[in-house]
Homo-oligomer: 97 residues x 2
């Protein structure tokens, strides 16, 4: 299963036999950018997620959650205190609700 947004995007694209070029046209970037986004070499912008979900006929929410988790992972990777920090944030979120 795809756990990174890039993997998911590639998976969806290839399954639907879409070329990079066909995706870029709506996303308004060069094919090379998408190629890189696919492989996690370039970050994906939040606005692009919505467009991609549209093109690839997948729930925006699914892709967006994947993207958001990836953003978080970027912050806490290599951090020994990651677990503590995550718990504290989760707790704080609940309090707000």
């Amino acid at each position: 299963m795809a756990t990174q947004p890039g993997d998911k995007i590639r998976e969806l694209r290839t399954k639907q036999n879409l070329l990079l070029r066909q995706v870029t046209s709506k996303l308004d970037v060069d094919t090379s950018i998408i190629s890189k986004m696919d492989r996690g070499e370039r970050p994906i912008k939040k606005e692009q997620i919505a467009i991609l979900a549209d093109i690839l006929k997948v729930e925006k929410e699914e892709l967006h959650t994947l993207w958001l988790a990836d953003q978080v992972k970027d912050v806490i990777k290599d951090e020994p205190l990651a677990d503590k920090a995550l718990k504290s944030v989760s707790k704080k979120i609940k309090e707000v609700k």
Copy 2:
């Protein structure tokens, strides 16, 4: 209780009757910067956390966890899917262990 690193730093500093100027000397930045960091107007760098913990005689880990949580919060704030994303990241972390 202080939940943001800035609040904590200010709390510690004032309790110990330290002036901004006295903190800046070891941190090598202008007082205005620390004033801003205190109030969350400027981000605090990771390296500065260790120095601050030193100056303020507090556990590095405590300050660092606070800082990390703040970084995460920055990413997920205003995100309706925050909770889902956080859970998925937590899960992923455990798997790695």
